[in-house]
Symmetry: C2
Subunit: 224 residues, 2 copies
Amino acid sequence: MDIHEKIAGEITIADNPGETIRKWREEFQVSQLELARYLSISPSVISDYESGRRKSPGVLSIKKIVTGLVEIDQKRGGQVIRRYSSGMPSDALIDISDYNHDISLERVIRMINGTNYCNIGLNRYIRGYTIVDGIKAILSFSYSEYSKLYGWSSQRIIFFTEVKMGRSPMIAIRVHPLKPAAVVYIQPDRIDELAIKLAEIENIPLIVTDLDAYSISRIMASLK
Amino acid sequence: MDIHEKIAGEITIADNPGETIRKWREEFQVSQLELARYLSISPSVISDYESGRRKSPGVLSIKKIVTGLVEIDQKRGGQVIRRYSSGMPSDALIDISDYNHDISLERVIRMINGTNYCNIGLNRYIRGYTIVDGIKAILSFSYSEYSKLYGWSSQRIIFFTEVKMGRSPMIAIRVHPLKPAAVVYIQPDRIDELAIKLAEIENIPLIVTDLDAYSISRIMASLK
DNA sequence: TAAATCATTCGGCACTTGCCGAATGATTAT
DNA sequence: ATAATCATTCGGCAAGTGCCGAATGATTTA
């Protein structure tokens, strides 16, 4: 189903359409001002909708708002749209996408200012990436959800946010039959020696980046 | 996803909300008059919406209409709702439902005024039913769609509409590993001897009814 | 054929929406 | 602390909506 229809349907049926509009705007991380500017209307219009001043907004207004949110996200790389199209629990999955061509892992690691913590070379290619919240994934994923992390291909980078020492993600990967081309920890607290050892046993480069997930998502989307 | 949101989303995003409202009302086989009466409004209101006189109907109006359509369908047994919740191509599938308890096949066949064309007894039980358009199913179903005909259990009746001689449905069933408890042809042109032979080989009662699919759907739903 | 039922058009109108911007408040960055 | 940015409230108003029913047309049923 089209994401516009999904969002619009939820807003239309909601007991408080205004709150739902706000929920989706925040989900897209768009400010009222930005949305208003994008739609060439006054910001107070957005505020009036979200506050519920308008009890029964017209469908053309809803359509305009939803279209604006989706287009803004697309201009930013389409991260939120992809997340809602992946069919996975959305709070652990931050982004997922696949490429139609091989992309050099070395090039990617350079672009994200990554540091390779293993003695494993980066001369391989990737066909996609997945960004997950490391803690939420550990708590909520079962086998089939882990499999979905691999999208179309295991030839990908899996990025983990919310990493303390880096053991759990490596253990999860070790237990799963599919192996990614590389693992990247996004702004980890620190890297435990065990995590490095597991990565080397699995022959999976373990990379660390100090960029945040949002920036990573944009960079990875720009490789399409 | 909730069917209200699905329908409402489609109406809200459509280029012509009015036409989409009409499409869904007709899909639910509800007349403007019936819907207007159900919602306690004038029929001309419904006509105005559907004709596009109102360019941007309010979300409360859309919600009211959608809720009304769904409730009317539920009062009739919920056939259309089930169809849109089954995840199958909708034009071939007419109805599908499962029961939480065994229901006597003999009883059902009596209720639908069925005639048993085989020498196979009806002393068995069913746990569900599926109604499909025989011609559309033949043209469009692949293996996995045939599997979905069986819902939760193969212990069911499969009803076929649009049956000419009755061969193709029996061949399709013969080729598939799962076997239904019974096959019913709804208002067939005639019954070919080969169809009967195939049914006996498969030990599947082949029954014919002169009721229409809508009546069958209501009767089967009433057994819940 | 006549009657019943369903569908449509359109004028009328009270009320609401879509939109504006000034005034005010809250938050963030320098 | 100041400036910039974002968010909210609310009065004002033209345009549109939600709803009505009379008049008319189309379709179905007896």
